[in-house]
């Protein structure tokens, strides 16, 4: 395992510029958070294809739908909480029902905007976006996977939601791995227990698995790159034969990966535990890690659950 770190939004910003160079149909929209989302890199490279839409997310999503109708491939940028929340109706009605080719990039997702508190922390975006028919939902685990996910988003014909974290994360996505929507990625083999995560919790799960190994318990770690598509056949073989399954996500329990996997694995009689945010908003803290710990989503909390599953 490499210990190099990358930042998802930096990788995103650079990849967007590369895409812009390769495909003149790529256009970018922003609601005054270009420095945070790193869409500012695209603005510098292609000012004529960059639309600063002001602090007006609803119009931005509709306007992006119009650009898609005119044959462009718009990437829309703002914080995840504003994209999926403020502009939900525009995404559902103008973009979703028509299947428009708009890429919605939810930046600073989860707790990653740690200082700004509940209003800026997005714990419902995956549920909201997954519920829209035809929406593809991507949730990469690190910087290198973000590069692949952004390119995949541009390739897909139809609406895509891409969830990105704000802070540096360890590189864990296997360098040789091909990015395939719907295909889980095994980050670590293990025969006793399995942890499933999405987004940036993968590195926490790997830490927990390493600690468990020291105690003689072999834990498999699986990263789910796409909440949609995700089918039963893809996850069932990875869950079968384990003594217990733990699902972790930096998201509300309601409508996230935990509930989805419990449904997809409903015919598999294996004990399952979920670590997610239970009916609470976020809050301010001095670091992202502090919040993951406070909400019981860090590697230590994972280990506790894994022990519980192991001991039965």
């Amino acid at each position: 395992m490499t210990h190099r770190t990358h930042n998802q939004r930096m990788e995103y910003g650079k990849t967007l510029v590369e895409l812009g160079r390769e495909d003149p149909r790529i256009v970018v929209l922003e609601a005054d958070l270009g420095k945070s989302t790193q869409s500012c890199l695209f603005e510098k490279a292609f000012p004529e294809r960059y639309f600063e839409m002001g602090i007006a997310e609803q119009n931005m999503l509709g306007f992006a739908g119009g650009l898609a109708l005119a044959g462009k491939i718009p990437f829309v940028n703002t914080f995840a909480v504003f994209a999926a929340g403020r502009a939900y109706d525009q995404i559902r009605q103008s973009i979703g029902t028509a299947g428009l080719n708009v890429k919605i990039v939810g930046s600073s997702a989860g707790f990653s905007d740690f200082g700004d508190g509940a209003t800026h922390q997005s714990l419902e975006d995956l549920a909201l976006m997954s519920a829209i028919p035809g929406m593809t939902v991507l949730s990469p685990c690190d910087g290198p996977e973000t590069v692949l996910a952004v390119r995949e988003a541009a390739r897909i014909q139809g609406p895509v939601y891409l969830r990105l974290s704000r802070n540096d994360v360890e590189n864990v996505f296997p360098p040789e791995e091909k990015y395939t929507p719907g295909k889980p990625v095994v980050l670590r083999e293990g025969t006793d227990l399995a942890v499933f995560t999405t987004g940036i919790l993968a590195s926490q799960a790997l830490q927990a698995a390493n600690e468990m190994e020291k105690q003689g318990v072999q834990v498999q770690v699986v990263h789910i790159p796409t909440l949609k598509p995700l089918e039963e056949e893809a996850v069932l073989p990875l869950a079968r034969g384990k003594k217990g399954i733990l699902i972790c996500e930096e998201h509300s329990l309601r409508g996230g990966l935990g509930m989805l996997l419990c449904y997809l694995l409903r015919n598999l009689w294996v004990p399952k535990e979920v670590l997610a945010v239970e009916d609470r908003f976020g809050q301010s803290a001095s670091s992202h890690e502090e919040l993951l710990q406070a909400y019981g989503l860090d590697s230590r909390a994972m280990q506790e659950k894994l022990w519980k599953l192991w001991k039965g």
Partner: protein
């Protein structure tokens, strides 16, 4: 302007109204009022002004019409059927299970529909985005985009966000047409939720504004022609109309926002309209 053209477009408007009445049928609800207020405007746009080709609905240089007041989609269906975008028999299946003609327009089901609308206040954003995209592809002479809103709909905040952005990006190929019929679902707009000084508001938002009698074909044509001379800013056309226009019992009646005609009213409406259209359907 030839008198013949004017007369043809007036008759076409009434033919569209008659088609709407037939599509809704007796004793069924349908958005009759807000469709009828728009009949001359759509007649002029589809049959007298817009560059479009029913044989080639995806022609990149076509003019686009996006009906932000999607509940009047029934009138747009009538116009598109008349143009030949789809077979007339589709009109018999309006709002039936599996029909391409949904209660609100769906671009993936109906050729000639440019966007999905129905959740009010969203069509101007879509139209502005289309206009901006077309300006990138055809900077010399970008195709025109017409966004049609109601006046009750203007209470939606997104409309005003969209107007701001249209001015920022100098979308002089965008025309926002307000069907100012003065009635919203529950009563007169002036009483329910007034939005005064509309023209001044549009001007303050950076638009060139023309006000017309929305049932006067000549005035509509002249305003559209004048809009062609505007450079560097988007255009608003405020069309003063009558909800339910052309059908005696439905004019200015909020109950026909989405009301049902009795069988007798249905026959009366068809008779009145066919007379005005100068032909039977």
């Amino acid at each position: 302007m030839e008198e013949q053209t004017i007369q043809r477009l007036e008759q076409k408007a009434n033919r569209l109204r008659a088609l709407v009445v037939k599509m809704i049928g007796p004793e069924k609800t349908g958005h009759l009022g807000g469709a009828c207020s728009l009949a001359e405007i759509l007649s002029v746009l589809y049959f007298g002004f817009m560059r479009h080709d029913p044989e080639n609905p995806q022609w990149p240089q076509r003019n686009r019409l996006i009906l932000s007041k999607g509940h009047a989609g029934i009138l747009q269906y009538a116009a598109l059927a008349e143009c030949g975008y789809f077979p007339q028999q589709w009109c018999r299946g309006l709002k039936q299970l599996g029909s391409p003609l949904q209660g609100h327009p769906d671009k993936n089901k109906v050729p000639g529909i440019e966007a999905n609308t129905g959740s009010l206040g969203q069509g101007v954003s879509l139209a502005a985005g289309v206009a901006a995209g077309l300006k990138l592809d055809f900077p010399e002479r970008p195709p025109r985009v017409y966004a049609i809103t109601g006046d009750g709909e203007l209470a939606e905040g997104q409309i005003w966000e969209a107007l701001l952005s249209a001015a920022v990006y100098r979308l002089d190929n965008l025309r926002v047409v307000v069907d100012q019929n003065g009635l919203q679902a529950t009563g007169p707009t002036k009483e329910r939720f007034p939005i005064p000084h509309l023209e001044e508001k549009f001007r303050a938002f950076g638009f060139a504004v023309f006000t017309v009698d929305g049932h006067n074909v000549r005035e509509i044509l002249e305003a559209l022609q004048k809009a062609e001379e505007v450079r560097g800013k988007p255009v608003a056309i405020v069309a003063q109309t009558v909800k339910g226009k052309g059908i005696s019992f439905a004019e200015n009646q909020p109950s026909f926002h989405n009301g049902a005609m009795t069988r007798e009213q249905y026959e009366t409406a068809l008779r009145e309209l066919e007379e005005k259209a100068g032909e039977a359907l």
